[in-house]
Symmetry: C2
Amino acid sequence: MLSAVEHETVDARVSFQTEPSRYRHWRLSIAPPVATLAMDVAEDGGLADGYELKLNSYDLGVDIELYDAVQRLRFEHPEVRAVVLTSLKEKIFCAGANIRMLATSEHPAKVNFCKFTNETRTAIEDATACSGQAYLAALNGTASGGGYELALACEHIMLIDDRSSVVSLPELPLLGVLPGTGGLTRVTDKRHVRRDLADYFATKAEGVGGRKALAWRLVDEVVPRTAWDQTVAQRAAEFAARTSRPHGLAGGPGIALPPLDKTRTAEAIGYRHVFATLHRDRGLAEITVDGPRADPPADMARADAEFWPLAVTRELDDLILDLRTNEPELGTWTLRTEGDPARVLAYDRLLLASTDDWLASEITHYLKRTLKRLDVTSRSLVALIEPGGCFAGSLLELALAADRSYMLADSPAVIVLGEMNLGPLPMANGLTRLATRFYGDRDALEAAQKHAGDPLDATTAERLGLVTFAPDEIDWEDEVRIAIEERASFSPDALTGMEANYRFAGPETMETKIFGRLTAWQNWIFTRPNASGPDGALRKYGTGQRASFDRKRA
Amino acid sequence: MLSAVEHETVDARVSFQTEPSRYRHWRLSIAPPVATLAMDVAEDGGLADGYELKLNSYDLGVDIELYDAVQRLRFEHPEVRAVVLTSLKEKIFCAGANIRMLATSEHPAKVNFCKFTNETRTAIEDATACSGQAYLAALNGTASGGGYELALACEHIMLIDDRSSVVSLPELPLLGVLPGTGGLTRVTDKRHVRRDLADYFATKAEGVGGRKALAWRLVDEVVPRTAWDQTVAQRAAEFAARTSRPHGLAGGPGIALPPLDKTRTAEAIGYRHVFATLHRDRGLAEITVDGPRADPPADMARADAEFWPLAVTRELDDLILDLRTNEPELGTWTLRTEGDPARVLAYDRLLLASTDDWLASEITHYLKRTLKRLDVTSRSLVALIEPGGCFAGSLLELALAADRSYMLADSPAVIVLGEMNLGPLPMANGLTRLATRFYGDRDALEAAQKHAGDPLDATTAERLGLVTFAPDEIDWEDEVRIAIEERASFSPDALTGMEANYRFAGPETMETKIFGRLTAWQNWIFTRPNASGPDGALRKYGTGQRASFDRKRA
């Protein structure tokens, strides 16, 4: 039972669950093999009061719908092979993140918003690369700031040639912040714009259009207004024809993603397979993930949204987003599992054996993306491995993603390495979590891999370096309690910085550069008075007054 | 003539010039093939008032001496093949950066200090890797924080086993900041400490010693006190014997590095080959680098510190450090050259043809490090290429390092690509500046490379993508003026963030991760109230009061 007060709190929480019939800002239309996702932001549809979403500018709510659409296209519309991102507004594709929203947001909210939008843009790239759903940005008007960054996540960028529409990154000259949603990274690393031209471009508030935008590689083609509709349709058809998506297999009907069965109170979040208890006094969320309650079906033929790997991934995804956004003071998450390790491994085998099945592939990629979301989550992650748990294969990734793991010694608790730990679920750095863990220590990696399939007790798991500590029953409670209390006593900022560094040992990719280098610089800039102070550029924008800067370079 | 006030300002400037006889904090002793660099910080020898450098803690002044020693060992002591870093204090190797100094420093000063210490630590690694001067950390007492990070820059870490000496990274638990001088990166990426153990280590203020430090790879060996001196000597001799440094060639006497001939006023900085005019009203430093005034000698035999490539590199190095540290409000640096491109190329050829000459190799590596210093400098760099300039080969790197370049069209101005642009001077990302410029555009890279050796006029250079803009005489003055004025009008923080991203397109290395990801997170944390606010951990340390934290995770 929720009291009135609690109910109010509930209403203030951001929900990540939606569906196309409830969209306020996007229109999704499907004409196989092409889908069109058209932005038409409702000015009065902001998540919070105090700003109007003019010119297709967006806030978290707009992006939640975009994320939902990108997900549904993969699961509900396997027949779609190309997605056209465009706008229903005249002369404007998208003006980027709403500036007043940014200016009035607290720092953690800004950071969380940017992280989610970054994840959605990498999800677009993942759909293009891994699912053969190629995204095309059809810029029927100006794309500025985050609007152009959204286009950058697409495989192909078309800009209308109407003598006024441009692409631009005006964040630096107008707002004193960075194009931080991948903009500075994708321009050079994905589109191969020369760095000095990119510098000029990002300081020119009025943007670049026409032939220059093409010559500088900012867009892939510039299309006259008279040929616009036809060329967009033609290009989408071409991408649909040549995508990597297997034709025959993707032709079947998709599976529906019904609303999650979720219960949310101030103390707990529950789904069918995933549960979290919220301890505000201890800054702690205790998360438990249930393994499958039955053996997997013989094949994927009858799999739907109830299919355990998909259901548990959807729930975990929603839980991560809910806790991140709505519970910023719960700084530590413990991760437990309950169930039969053999069944987890059996489901994993079914997914990986179904190499020709589009749904098996989608589920594996979705799990991959959800685990990546965990990797970039600014919370301390502690895995607790106890008897009755099922840290095996795909669920063992939770322990491998954790900053630390504790496993009860002299007990029936086991972990099992499976095929899912050896390749299909890479981190953003391109390595498996296992390879990242043993980065530079090939012997240890090989020693662990040799035990794939073996139930490993705490002593063996510790010796192989697969868990951090293996206290026995006498020490368990104290050690775990102290670890959690200690974590809660540290500076939350320093923990975020430490974890963001340690979790990504070894090589970097465009994705890790966006979540690492670019994001960290953007976060720094967001905290500086030159941007967010009373006289900062972000706060002064639109007031007619100039920002005033401390000119010292740091 | 300096007024009294100006003179005071002059005195307050930090100087980077020193020499062993003037060291207050280090003792350098040479017993070929081994050198010993022993830390013995003078408590009252801080650069500023208000803190005491207890327990071998350091400030910028201590690190300036370390940098000087590392440089001199390469040039003045080619006979040295191993360097032992140790301490003359009892029970303590080094306690890291002085906390009170950090707590009382302004943000830009903190950032500048960390950048320089990072550069000195990568210089130690460069000496080991490129010069065969292997550094060994002989930790005869506890190495904590920056003290352990200094050890991490060494090839081999020995810790005394006296039941009390440990290595530790207590920044997070004690100060609410990161081990930001490479600590979080080198632990996993260089020493291959497992990330979960590294996590535990960096939250345990009391550190780790003895067998555990060895088992976790935090150190390479643990040595009983009774065997300490002998084992250190033996290990140094072993490293000296097996280093990559050519034995015969490195046996000759080194060359002395006399004090630079430098004139410094509030308006100008002058050396023999490098000049800077400081325009405070415009936030601008105009830098001119002179090419060689005569042809190179026939061989390296008579080269000394007057030898143009070495002299100009030393001056440029000092100028960068001076401007960075003492002139934070000069946010834009223009880069010009004057001289004969053919002579620059002739010197380059001499250096690169002298493949067996230790000095030629040292000079090339020093130029490489100095250009890397420019790459991580938080100032906008604008190259101005005019008639009479000598942007060729090694000096063309200045233009390639710049954020933008302007070249006067329809004029005798030329640039010339030389061998030095094609490999010997890589950036921290492992690529040449040319390859970084054309990242992902192999055709453009090859087209440019084909013109190596050709004097290229502005039109050709622009067409090949080697310069950003090529205005003619009518537009030149306005375009350059507007670019500089515009730069001065933008948020200095946003410029720093943009440049730090754009300058490092493509792959990352441990070095770029340290200057990028790690540094950006550290800078963010430094600005947050949880660290630097009145109740932040950095400010409360040593007061007996607990820091108070905003618990929201961002």
